[in-house]
């Protein structure tokens, strides 16, 4: 495993650098402006020890001002326990708001910091077995930051997720490095690679998980992109039988005319 990770980092480091698109499993600090409305969706297959899960969220952001974005995530979830029938349906709805706290722009480069608040509602069914929803209200407060130049993109987000009832709060952190593989012009075909790290620390019981997530992104034109990411656990210190083997994401984003 470690040899593969080092090899991947080596390939990314040796690649000629150009500008790129938004990261795949990390939040982006680049909002699309008043006219840049778009939709994101992806299918995520999660392989766990005793269950397979397929999640299909549809993310719709809307810019109220160039600095302020609101949006909603409409997730559909399908769970297939080992030796059992699949159940699925609409999962927990999330609404979010992003506000640009800081921005410094230069020629073909930018550095931005956003505040991010997410509220998740327990809309998913908990009466089914297994449950589609968490049955919890969750409030996430965090920051998103990123530096983007024509040479590379560095992104990060971190935040605290507050849950109600007796569930534990958790700390979420993500980091991403983006490296384009093709020279860029506009509109253009772009092929971008990402190396991302996705961490989650649950406080009670103490469970730390960290995934390494290499990804590819193809942008065939000015209004659409396709992306895929493989998420492999490198830290997973829970002793339950609920360990994740891997996750695969395949998705698209398109900008509305």
């Amino acid at each position: 495993m470690n040899r593969h990770i080092l090899l991947l980092i080596g390939i990314l480091s040796a690649t000629t650098l150009f500008a790129q698109g938004p990261p795949i499993t990390t939040e982006t600090p680049i909002m699309l402006g008043l006219e840049g409305n778009g939709i994101r969706t992806f299918g995520k297959f999660i392989s766990k020890e005793n269950v397979n899960i397929y999640v299909q969220p549809i993310v719709i952001p809307y810019n109220i001002t160039p600095k302020f974005q609101v949006g909603a995530v409409f997730p559909f979830k399908f769970i297939t326990p080992e030796n059992s029938k699949t159940t699925g349906g609409f999962a927990d709805l999330t609404v979010f708001a992003k506000y640009q706290l800081y921005k410094i722009d230069g020629k073909a480069k930018t550095f931005r910091i956003l505040g991010l608040v997410r509220q998740t509602f327990p809309t998913g069914s908990t009466s089914s077995n297994p449950a589609i929803g968490s049955g919890l209200s969750q409030t996430y407060v965090g920051v998103v930051l990123g530096k983007l130049t024509t040479k590379a993109g560095l992104y990060g987000d971190l935040g605290y997720n507050i849950t109600n009832k007796n569930a534990s709060d958790n700390f979420v952190y993500n980091f991403s490095v983006g490296v384009p593989l093709l020279p860029h012009k506009y509109p253009q075909k772009q092929l971008n690679t990402y190396l991302e790290f996705n961490g989650n620390y649950v406080f009670d019981p103490k469970i730390h998980t960290l995934f390494i997530s290499p990804g590819l992104q193809f942008i065939p034109g000015r209004r659409i992109l396709f992306e895929t990411s493989l998420q492999i656990p490198i830290v997973q210190d829970n002793n339950t039988t609920n360990r994740t083997n891997y996750m695969v994401l395949l998705g698209t984003r398109f900008l509305l005319n």
């Binding site: 402006g33 840049g36 159940t87 921005k103 024509t150 253009q188 659409i224």
Partner: protein, 121 residues
């Protein structure tokens, strides 16, 4: 609550239809040639480092009456376009357009001649 197969089949199919409808509108070549009744505008845009993020600016520029010959160069950080000579927007209007797209207009040039673009690839 429905079974896996019935809903799983519908979601990807719907998404694919949406995606391909978008792909069909993508092929636009940019050609810039001198027109007698046109003025040319070049805006040096700070913060435009992400090609996928530049579409919002393109959309807003295209809403300027008569705007055409749009050209965006990410590496050099500028956007240029033509407008009818009697409908040239003010500097303030252009600055506002760029700001609303999430960027900053560092410098704006007006010309009666089409700009020559040297693209660094």
């Amino acid at each position: 609550m429905k079974t896996f197969n019935s809903r799983m089949g519908l979601i990807p199919l719907t998404l694919l239809l949406i995606v391909f409808s978008f792909l069909k509108t993508e092929a636009n070549a940019i050609q810039i040639e001198k027109k007698d009744n046109s003025a040319y505008i070049k805006i040096w845009v700070d913060g435009m480092a992400c090609p996928f993020c530049a579409y919002g600016l393109e959309k807003k520029i295209k809403k300027i009456e008569g705007a055409g010959d749009l050209f965006i160069e990410i590496n050099e950080g500028f956007i240029s376009f033509s407008v009818p000579i009697n409908k040239v927007p003010t500097t303030e209007t252009l600055q506002k357009i760029v700001k609303e797209a999430g960027f900053f207009a560092r410098k704006i040039e007006f010309s009666k001649e089409a700009f020559k673009h040297e693209i660094n690839e």
